[in-house]
Symmetry: none
Subunit: 530 residues, 2 copies
């Protein structure tokens, strides 16, 4: 008999405060869909009314199973809840749940808000009542709860109790500045459960002491049944509690799974690594290879001593099985594990090669070789597909690019304005035919892409509907020199999408590789013959 712990994701609200992170409307919809699919209970989409993008995001509920939550402030002092524009915006939002944030520290009420302690409580009560009356599930985020409790426990509890008595489904205790430590959190939460039952309590931790995950677990041990966090621990300053780590721990550590259950099932858990990486891809953030459970190095052993023990019996060094979260073991001295992984990965993208097929070994070698150069096939399925198919000699030589030239020129035009021109010329050989095309673009890659697809002779009709949909660049140190990795997502007239990769110190060269792969992939899928 396990207790149900609810997961509340605030990647799109608190996570949006991260330095250098911006979510477009499309990004928000994609993330909400991913969270929904993962089995998250609540998706906090943002702060409708505070900015136009969030208001637009709340025009329509983007999740099927997960509850969609809107964040906002309790009513301003001196106004009624009915006359508060912030609350009005929240009620207009197509949200199942409304999350109010209120100060629960007397210091903050007096110094930051400059209102009386009583007015703050009234604000909490009337806001919660208003939202409840409008049929929403209501939550109160008690901001600065732990500092507030340490300074004035009665007032902090009064805030929590007021929300609970006003009908809030959840009262969330927030360690807003991330300065609390696990045993403090455990002890304080245990105290709070004497006023508000654990089944109504949530925890919202930050990582300023490196203890957000531990604080969240301590709170659950003391009775809370909702955990707030973000994917990959996104968030301002040091980030929010990492929900990915918490899902891994709660689902896989005996200590927890014997007593708690989540909305995430085993299959969804198997997608955890993918979700974590997809978010980093979307935000063009370098993934944390050391992330617990899902990092690409989370199960990588380098040391000879460890490696042989791991191969003898993985339980000797792995606290959980990597496959449970869709991750893989990396043992850098042997390719035993490598082959099984590869067969599975190839199967996934539609290439069948048996374990004993000699070509499998060559594919593995080629992959390792390319990865050492900086290629990453994770998220570049079409290039991975072509790599394998080329080794299987199943990719015809449709065309050869004999030469290309790309130039970007900035100069004064006839009107005396400084303008930038981008131009590309490409010479291809299709069968016996030599074709040369030129194109302009809003940038060098756009010009090259257009020129490359302008005239491919007899294949032209097959690539008419092809277009570049997304372009990502990562520059990193591949040894002593900087290496550029380009990922290109393409789409065609059927709506199909695929991603290809290119690597070079030269960004144009890297882009070129990815473009050629993209066209080749389309021709292979279209069944074109050479």
């Amino acid at each position: 008999m396990t207790a149900r712990v609810h997961l509340f994701d605030t990647t799109l609200r608190d996570g949006a405060q991260t330095t250098g992170v911006d979510f477009s409307l499309d990004d928000k919809r994609a993330v909400a869909a991913m969270l929904d699919k993962l089995g998250i209970d609540y998706v906090e989409g943002g702060y409708p009314g505070a900015n136009p993008l969030d208001t637009a995001f709340f025009a329509e509920k983007p999740t099927r199973n997960a509850k969609f939550a809107a964040f906002g402030m309790t009513k301003r002092a001196g106004r009624s809840a009915a006359n508060d524009p912030g609350i009005a915006a929240l009620l207009e939002a197509k949200a199942d749940a409304i999350v109010f944030v209120a100060k629960s520290s007397d210091y903050h009420v007096r110094v930051a808000l400059e209102i009386s302690l009583e007015e703050n409580l009234i604000g909490i009560r009337e806001s919660v009542e208003a939202a409840k009356a409008a049929g929403r599930e209501v939550m109160l985020d008690c901001e600065h709860f732990f500092d507030g409790y340490k300074a004035n426990p009665d007032y902090a509890l009064a805030c929590a109790r007021t929300a609970y008595e006003a009908g809030a489904r959840w009262v969330v205790l927030c360690d807003t500045n991330g300065g609390s430590l696990p045993d403090e959190v455990g002890a304080i939460v245990a105290e709070v459960t004497r006023t508000v039952p654990g089944e109504y309590l949530g925890i919202h931790a930050h990582d300023d002491c490196g203890c957000a995950v531990a604080n969240s677990l301590a709170a659950v041990e003391s009775g809370v049944r909702q955990i707030q966090g973000t994917l990959n621990g996104l968030g301002e300053r040091c980030g929010n509690a990492n929900l990915v780590t918490l899902i891994g721990a709660l689902k896989l550590k005996d200590k927890y799974r014997e007593r708690f259950s989540l909305g995430v099932d085993e299959n969804q858990l198997g997608e955890l690594s993918h979700v974590s990486r997809a978010l980093d891809e979307m935000l063009n953030r370098a993934p944390n290879v050391h992330a617990p459970f899902v990092g690409s190095s989370a199960f990588a052993t380098k040391a000879g001593i460890h490696a042989s023990a791991v191969l003898k019996d993985p339980r000797t060094y792995e606290h959980v099985a990597p496959e449970a979260t869709g991750n893989t073991r990396k043992v850098l001295i042997s390719d035993q594990g490598g082959k099984s992984n590869l067969v599975a990965e190839l199967e996934r993208i539609g290439v069948t090669l048996g374990r004993d097929d000699p070509r499998l070994g060559r594919v593995l070698e080629e992959v390792k070789d390319k990865e050492a150069q900086g290629y990453a096939f994770e998220g570049a399925d079409a290039s991975f597909f072509l790599l394998a198919k080329r080794i299987m000699r199943e990719v015809p030589e449709y065309f050869a690019v004999e030469r290309f030239k790309v130039s970007v020129e900035r100069r004064y035009n006839a009107n005396g304005e400084l303008v930038t021109f981008s131009e590309a010329t490409v010479k291809v050989k299709v069968g016996e035919e030599e074709l040369i095309s030129a194109a302009e673009g809003n940038g060098p890659v756009n010009a090259l892409d257009t020129a490359l697809r302008k005239d491919l002779g007899r294949y032209q009709s097959l690539i008419e509907g092809l277009r570049l949909v997304d372009y990502k660049v990562r520059i990193f140190q591949g040894g002593t020199d900087a290496v550029t990795r380009v990922l290109i997502e393409s789409a065609d007239e059927t709506g199909a999408r695929w991603t290809t990769v290119g690597v070079s110190p030269n960004i144009i060269d890297a882009s070129f590789q990815a473009l050629v792969d993209s066209i080749t992939y389309k021709l292979v899928r279209a069944g074109a013959t050479a």
Copy 2:
């Protein structure tokens, strides 16, 4: 009356197992010196005898105050300690302390080592005695201690007790697979202190559950007096306990500093941010901007609501003062921020504009305007500085780029190989002089950068030492079209570094803006006149 907690750094031994990390001999000496200066008690330098570099490193003690520790295995079964080459290598090393690692889990002794439980204990005792007889301080790392204790507490304790009774100064309890959780660690350590006194115990945690720091703190609460970890949480898989975070917590959280003291004093603490960044620089690793206490974003607030509260009174949102560890507060310019933010941020980068100065309003407008186009000034202080100074008319027109042309060409060379060439031509006007330069590069941006800095007439000597150190690209939707944002980090001969930004749909154009800003910034800082 505080209890002394000893810090044991294993960056150069366990940290060296990190994916993609290699320390040269010079690197090891530099890190050891940094740790010594920081006030660390023990520096574990490596595994002499296991590889030539470590053996060479132990030819001479590299620290003045910190104890220098050598790591190795207990004697092999069937040999005497006197005849064990591993122990011989350890005794040859110029180390103050010797750290033996031994299995303390019966499962590992039987399955991984394939020896009897008794033989393992003999190995521990005889190794510790041998090193003690040779005048060294001796430690035993009890590998897999927590899993071992959960499965067979008597045996795990027997290992610990054997080392203690043989004269070990420290018995270190290792959570080798990182699978233990804080309350388990706390409870088990408390039990162990009934066999080995806390003053003789150490903790060695890993971050596989995101709880290494919390586990270390829990162990200290239960009585251990040595913490093992690495700078920046380096280490294989998910890393070791982050000593930087632990130093911050133990020195700055009241909960700890009232009861514990370290070898690190307040001045040394003020160097913590620098040490953390210096290590990342050395290893060419992207720093974790979100790292607790020392990350460049650890005290960065974006939201308008938070920002105005922070400025009113930093204690409202900061759990500790950033300056204590040599870090700074950052109130990020965002389109939610207002004048108060701006005045503070400008002050931080050395620009003084009063709140009522009309130019401040123009700067704010320009920032918001540029941010709407896709510029982000967080992390691009030099461009932000120039933006303000331009409005204040304090940036002379040093040079004007009349024209540039960048081309990338891929074609067959004389040897029939397909190669890629990148070339740039830049025409600048410096005063009355028109200068035209050409350069090649490994990519278009490299070529443009080189050409731009090849001949700037009378300013040439001022920019001789200038070089491009890092280049980051982000492409995102700025409205309906893709926009490219480029961040360039430059350095000069004095070691100063600064970052500039450029935005355009054209990546070359965006890079160009950032390059021009970088040169201009250098000239302004050098006090050049037009």
